[in-house]
């Protein structure tokens, strides 16, 4: 979230290196938060899904089918619900904890996923696939990838000087394209699995 990290990175007007450090810390903390989320999804979600569907092939088939359906949702063709937590991390952390600690806290909170908006189905499908795999190690890896992918772009955008209000508004206008990309990613994953078992 560019609006969250921008003040922390730009705040160091007299020291660009401290701003870079804040951004790097934010990204790594987001990776750590995501790793925790992924581990929980694989362990707890895996325990639940394995109890309901003990056969791994069946679990993957169900999740692949859902992934295909949500491809249609992202393309605007099928109205399906997405759990979108309409909340945001507290802005008060910046003033309360300062730049360095604030960057880490924001990063971890955003990496953990459900502390801010998650309107795209790829996030929830990632958690479902991790639950289906029920492997905490891959939960850590994929969760870390989610966290870093979430924390890095806002940091890079801010460091590149693209964190103004106009830039943020332009970013928000990109939502339809992002839904398309989510749809394509969902379609790629679903078809990769479904065709591989059909043709095997």
């Amino acid at each position: 979230m560019v609006g969250t990290i921008r003040p922390l990175v730009e705040g160091h007007l007299t020291s660009r290196w401290r701003g870079i450090l804040a951004g790097v810390g934010h990204t790594l903390a987001a990776g750590a938060g995501g790793a925790c989320l992924g581990w929980i999804a694989a362990w707890a979600g895996g325990w639940l899904l394995v109890a309901i569907l003990p056969d791994p092939g069946t679990r993957y088939l169900v999740v692949a089918g859902l992934t295909a359906l949500y491809m249609l949702r992202e393309m605007g063709l099928l109205p399906l619900p997405v759990l979108d937590v309409k909340t945001a991390v507290p802005e008060s952390w910046r003033a309360k904890y300062g730049y360095e600690v604030g960057s880490l806290m924001y990063g971890f909170a955003l990496g953990f996923g459900f502390t801010a908006r998650t309107p795209f189905s790829s996030f929830h499908l990632m958690l479902l696939w991790l639950s289906a795999m029920a492997d905490p190690l891959w939960g850590l890896v994929a969760g870390c990838a989610w966290g870093i992918a979430r924390g890095l772009p806002p940091t890079l955008l801010t460091l590149a000087g693209k964190g103004s209000d106009d830039d943020l508004n332009a970013l928000l206008m990109k939502r339809p394209v992002v839904h398309t990309v989510n749809g394509l990613a969902n379609g790629l994953v679903a078809s990769l699995y479904l065709f591989s078992i059909l043709l095997s």
Binding site: M75, G76, R117, F123, A149, L171, G183, L184, S191, L199
Partner: protein, 49 residues
Amino acid sequence: MVVYQSRWPVAGAVVGLVMLSSLLGLRAPTWAFAVLLAMVAGVSATTTA
């Protein structure tokens, strides 16, 4: 709902490539699905500002 007609050719190309890779025996490991979705979701979240 708005249907974006231009998405279908791209989606069709993706599905076709996947079918071809499956025929060739190229199978992605399951963990790759989770990692791919993770990266797409993470970058997508940037637009929540």
